[in-house]
């Protein structure tokens, strides 16, 4: 009973996604067909390739009521087989190099890769470490980089939507 009165009193808290796309960098132009096909319903598989988990905390925020990525038809899925997009975080460590590649192989075509966080692009403070194999795009092809350490949930969402070319009209 208390739960439902709380639900009633809170109402819908999802925020509209406002403009401000400076955190996103398009690495490759995605084929039009892919955009058309995936634009409406996308399964996302998150791969932690060795991040400090800062990015994960922000990504978790996406599923909450405030950012609510489901309203764009995006959904986190349990298996790369169900996924259309890989959300990769962190510098790729030696241990995660093969798994990352395997995950990419396991995902059916057409697929997109969004690399989240500065580490994914530059390896960040872990650059040059003996345990790090390299940036994400040195292992698998990346479509979009999302900058920030860690990036805000809104930026990640913008990055995903940029990959799909589906940013809401300004």
């Amino acid at each position: 009973m208390q739960l439902f009165s709380k639900i009633l009193s809170v109402g819908i808290v999802t925020e509209p996604l406002d403009d401000g796309g400076e955190g996103v960098e398009l690495a490759r132009q995605v084929a039009e067909k892919t955009q058309k096909l995936l634009g409406r319903a996308v399964g996302i598989r998150e791969v932690d390739a060795g991040s400090c988990n800062g990015c994960e905390v922000e990504i978790t925020g996406l599923t909450g009521p405030v950012y609510d990525l489901e309203r764009f038809g995006l959904r986190f899925v349990a298996s790369p087989r169900h996924a259309d997009m890989l959300l990769v975080t962190g510098p790729v460590t030696r241990n995660m190099e093969v798994p990352l590649r395997k995950t990419y192989e396991a995902t059916p075509d057409p697929k997109l890769v969004v690399a989240v966080g500065d580490c994914a692009k530059t390896c960040g403070v872990f650059q040059g470490s003996y345990a790090v194999a390299g940036s994400v795009d040195s292992v698998i092809p990346v479509d979009v980089f999302v900058r920030g350490c860690p990036p805000e949930p809104a930026d990640i969402l913008r990055g995903i939507l940029a990959a799909l070319d589906r940013l809401p009209p300004k």
């Binding site: 819908i12 995936l38 319903a41 609510d68 489901e70 309203r71 959904r75 349990a78 087989r81 059916p108």
Partner: protein, 313 residues
């Protein structure tokens, strides 16, 4: 002729609406979680996308893995043919009764469980093992509830049960009827993998039942399996709605009766969707080893249903 046309229309109707029902439940749940949520027609988009993606199949898998999606969808479709959705009496009533429906469900489970084992993945095996456990333990409840329904109607044929309930609207309030409804509702929850038995939106392999088995599927195979599982939910809910609250179902083939039947069915399904969404917001997933207790409870309900309809005749 028009009778067959209507039969055909029923199945198309069920097939077309099944994703929408799941979308509706998801949408209501999102609203209850203070989210905007995806629109109710999102599952259609997902199906469209999956049908146009390639499929990745494990190199360890055999033909069982590729055949299973077809077998599962065929058995679910066959169930959809047998269940009265809009009209009674049915021409297809003679093909199968409630027991046939139950065993067709088992047929689907059988294939899906085999497909879970086929690629040799530990997740798939786990899912299969749990799915067959839940399916087996739900059987006594189902059979007993069918028995108590059949006692009232004098037949296990679905059409006959619905007609009997239509002829005597007060039976709906008898405890036997209500208890059987409660029992079958729990079974429906367990069979369609909803909370609290299974969480349809989980990402954690260790807590999965249904999802774990289809973890290996992709592309058109996944689309078929998803559609089949949504159809199963749709069929189960319309079965519950029509067996226990048959008001509004068409008994003649006039357009007026048919459209009224469609409207009432939609209202009943929407109500059930709200019930499920509210319940899924309220309860947490049960530990796997408490699921048998839930099913035992449903069995006791069914047993009570049968005693009260048996001894108070």
């Amino acid at each position: 002729m028009s009778g067959w046309l209507v039969e055909f229309f029923q199945i198309v109707f069920a097939l077309a609406l099944a994703p929408g029902l799941v979308g509706l439940i998801r949408w209501i749940k999102a609203r209850l979680q203070s989210r905007l949520g995806a629109p109710p027609w999102q599952p259609y988009r997902e199906l469209g996308k999956l049908f146009h993606k390639e499929a990745v199949v494990s190199k360890n898998a055999s033909w069982i893995f590729r055949f299973a999606p077809y077998a599962v969808s065929a058995s679910t479709l066959a169930i959809a043919f047998l269940v009265p959705v809009l009209v009674v009496p049915r021409r297809l009533d003679m093909v199968g009764d409630l027991f046939v429906v139950v065993y067709l469900l088992l047929l689907g489970t059988f294939w899906l469980a085999l497909a879970g084992l086929d690629p040799g993945s530990a997740f798939g095996g786990m899912g299969s093992s749990r799915e067959v456990t839940v399916a087996a333990l739900a059987e006594p409840t189902t059979a007993t509830a069918i028995f108590s329904l059949a006692l009232g109607a004098g037949s296990t044929n679905l059409g006959a049960i619905v007609v009997a309930a239509l002829n005597d609207p007060w039976t709906v309030l008898t405890p036997g009827h209500l208890l059987a409804f409660a029992a079958l509702f729990i079974v429906a929850i367990a069979e369609t993998g909803r909370l609290p038995v299974d969480n349809p939106s989980t990402h954690l392999e260790l807590t999965m039942i249904h999802e774990a088995m289809i973890l290996e599927y992709s592309g058109r195979y996944l689309a078929l399996l998803e559609w089949a599982s949504w159809l199963k939910l749709f069929v189960f809910l319309s079965l519950l709605a029509n067996l226990f609250f048959p008001w509004g179902i068409a008994t003649t083939l006039t357009p007026g009766a048919l459209s009224w039947a469609i409207v009432t069915l939609l209202v009943k399904l929407a109500l059930l969707a709200v019930v499920i969404a509210v319940m899924e917001t309220r309860v947490a997933k049960l530990r796997l080893f408490r699921v048998p207790e839930l099913l035992t409870a449903s069995f006791v309900l069914a047993l009570l249903a049968i005693t009260s309809s048996f001894l108070l005749r």
